[in-house]
């Protein structure tokens, strides 16, 4: 039996044989996280086909319908708009926030981190003092401060969260670079005449990918949570545009009459964040060899 299994495994692609993939598959929570993420984001990407109603269409004759009534899967809100369709369309804002914020912060962090670690000296000193400065602020407070200056809106929220969260990546990549700089393969690349830029981007950064992927997954979860919080405070997506955090904010005054308007968007935010956190946790077990693995 064992022989049969190994025989089957040898037929698998190198990727599926790899230690990381095996580790990851064994972690049931991570798989669950991946499934949650795929379902939620799949539904959001296919919102045109999944949503049953126009998310903006009001039906003032039928407000506050309960869950599962008259073809409204999750009921209707104070304007008689279909909650299910608003949730599905609202996912687009969260999805965009997650991707754009991580894109901004990871790019800045990776570039500054590798430069800082590779060149060292005064460049390193200046970059690290800047990251210290960013770490000195409580992150959400700095974010609302910048929003106060720039004004509310989804674009500003993404920009702010991206600009506030990059130092984490910079520190990690710098530490990795410091270690990798002395590795024989980097030495040999240098001996072969590779330019600094080539060494940094072709030899060093790809070796930081594992922890960066983990950080990006967890960072996406945090970005979605923070953006929903900002929208909840009225600083993010503005009504009537559907977004989970602002749906919760709009529903606050109707808490007594229609508690489902509070329960549903919050649960969806939690699911989206939880899925990413499960996934990130599993990826860390799979990709970071230093962490204790085998959580079966």
């Amino acid at each position: 039996m064992e022989q049969l299994e190994t025989a089957q495994q040898t037929k698998l692609s190198p990727f599926r044989q790899s230690r990381g993939w095996q580790q990851f598959r064994r972690n049931r929570l991570a798989t669950l996280g991946l499934v949650i993420v795929l379902i939620l984001w799949g539904a959001t990407l296919l919102a045109e086909y999944v949503a049953t109603h126009d998310p903006y269409e009001m039906d003032l004759a039928n407000p506050f319908l309960p869950i599962g009534s008259q073809g409204h899967l999750l009921g209707t809100d104070n304007f008689g708009r279909d909650v299910f369709s608003r949730i599905i369309w609202g996912g687009r804002a969260s999805l965009t926030v997650g991707i754009v914020v991580v894109g901004i912060s990871a790019s800045i962090g990776l570039i500054l981190g590798v430069i800082s670690g590779y060149y060292g000296g005064w460049i390193d000193l200046v970059i690290m003092r800047i990251t210290d400065l960013f770490f000195a602020f409580p992150f959400f407070i700095l974010a609302i401060g910048v929003i106060a200056a720039l004004g509310p809106g989804l674009q500003n929220v993404m920009l702010v969260l991206g600009l506030v969260t990059w130092p984490e990546y910079a520190r990690m990549v710098r530490a990795k670079t410091l270690a990798l700089r002395e590795e024989p393969f980097v030495e040999s690349a240098r001996a072969a005449g590779a330019k600094d830029l080539r060494i940094m981007f072709y030899h060093i950064l790809p070796n930081c990918l594992g922890p960066v992927i983990v950080m990006a997954t967890l960072g996406m979860a945090n970005a979605i949570l923070a953006a929903a919080g900002l929208s909840f405070l009225g600083m993010g997506v503005q009504p009537p545009e559907p977004e989970w955090g602002s749906m919760l904010n709009e529903a606050r005054i109707y808490m007594r009459t229609a508690p489902h308007l509070i329960i549903i968007p919050g649960m969806i935010i939690m699911l989206a964040v939880l899925g990413l956190n499960f996934l990130g946790d599993g990826l860390r077990d799979a990709l970071d060899p230093k962490m204790p693995t085998a959580r079966q």
């Binding site: 400065l133 000195a136 409580p138 200056a149 909840f232 955090g245 935010i269 956190n277 959580r295």
Partner: protein, 318 residues
């Protein structure tokens, strides 16, 4: 030790300068003239060039930017953070009035989170990979993922609207008895502390696992100590040191969370003041609240670092 403290205090000077510059830059370099923004938010005033110029002079906005920063910095040293554009109250007075409310909430949340997190983390480390460990892992991931504003609203829904056990919002006062204070405090403090409890529990677990694998724990077991004594007297004491150091960083999450929690529960603290002043476009007040929150964060971290150096003899002071 004394030299270490002095060095840490000196290192704060450039940090504070940097922070004050960022906070100043935030609201002065960015596009948009604060005076016209303020005037446009008040429908009772029709702005003419004269009033604008007068107000600009009043707030020093007609001077060059760097001069403005120096004035801002000089005023900060004198404890003057300007006056609110909305209520005309001095910014520092307004913040000072709300400090006790925020402190009460933050301390209560900190206590709640430590009381939940340490036992949970210790149990899951001691019984690693058991069903209880798995349950705690899932629980902590849910705790980290749960939006605090949602948790707060759910608690209000359950305990205030349905069960009618607790007041919906606001703060209690000692003049009405300790019960009044606690009944108002419990929901917001739990909302704020819950997410932090989840983070702390995970840290406690990994820190305890590390300590439990060390030689001195094996020695303690080998000399025949009971498992309770090994865990609580030997392991936990050492396992708590790294947790203590992250408490300072976690305090930042607490301050950020207080903005949301104070808004939901109408808690009269600095967080709610910050949100209200953003809504009113009251820039000096926004500046003041961001600055005070950041100062609190830095001071707490400094305090934690110094205490840490005092607790752990392995730390070198340089």
């Amino acid at each position: 030790m004394g030299r270490y403290i002095v060095r840490r205090l000196l290192a704060m000077i450039p940090l504070l300068l940097g922070i004050s510059f960022i906070v100043f830059a935030l609201l002065n370099i960015l596009p948009g003239d604060p005076v016209s923004i303020m005037l446009s938010s008040n429908p009772h005033i029709t702005p003419d060039a004269n009033t604008i110029a007068q107000l600009q002079a009043q707030y020093g906005l007609d001077k060059p930017l760097f001069a403005q920063y120096l004035i801002f910095l000089g005023n900060l040293f004198k404890g003057d953070m300007g006056t609110s554009m909305y209520t005309q109250q001095p910014v520092l007075t307004a913040i000072w009035e709300r400090m006790p409310a925020t402190a009460e909430l933050a301390i209560a949340a900190l206590i709640i989170s430590v009381v939940i997190a340490i036992p949970v983390g210790v149990i899951s480390a001691v019984r690693q990979y058991s069903w209880i460990d798995h349950l705690c892992l899932i629980g902590t991931l849910i705790g980290v993922s749960m939006p605090s504003f949602w948790l707060g609203l759910l608690l209000m829904l359950g305990f205030s609207l349905k069960l009618r056990w607790l007041p919906l919002s606001g703060m209690g006062y000692f003049s009405n008895g300790v019960g009044d204070v606690l009944r108002h405090l419990i929901m917001p403090a739990f909302t704020l502390g819950f997410g932090m409890a989840a983070l702390l529990a995970r840290l406690t677990r990994s820190s305890m696992l590390e300590v439990l694998g060390q030689d001195f724990v094996r020695t303690a077991r080998a000399k025949g100590l009971s498992e309770r004594a090994v865990i609580y007297r030997h392991a936990l004491r050492n396992g708590l040191i790294p947790i203590f150091t992250v408490l300072g960083v976690q305090f930042g999450y607490l301050l950020g969370g207080s903005v949301i929690v104070e808004t939901i529960f109408s808690w009269p603290g600095i967080g709610r003041l910050a949100v209200n002043s953003i809504m009113n476009r009251d820039l000096p007040m926004v500046q003041g609240t961001v600055l005070v929150f950041t100062l609190l964060f830095i001071l707490v971290n400094l305090g934690v670092d110094i205490l840490y150096a005092a607790i752990d003899p392995r730390i070198q002071y340089d």
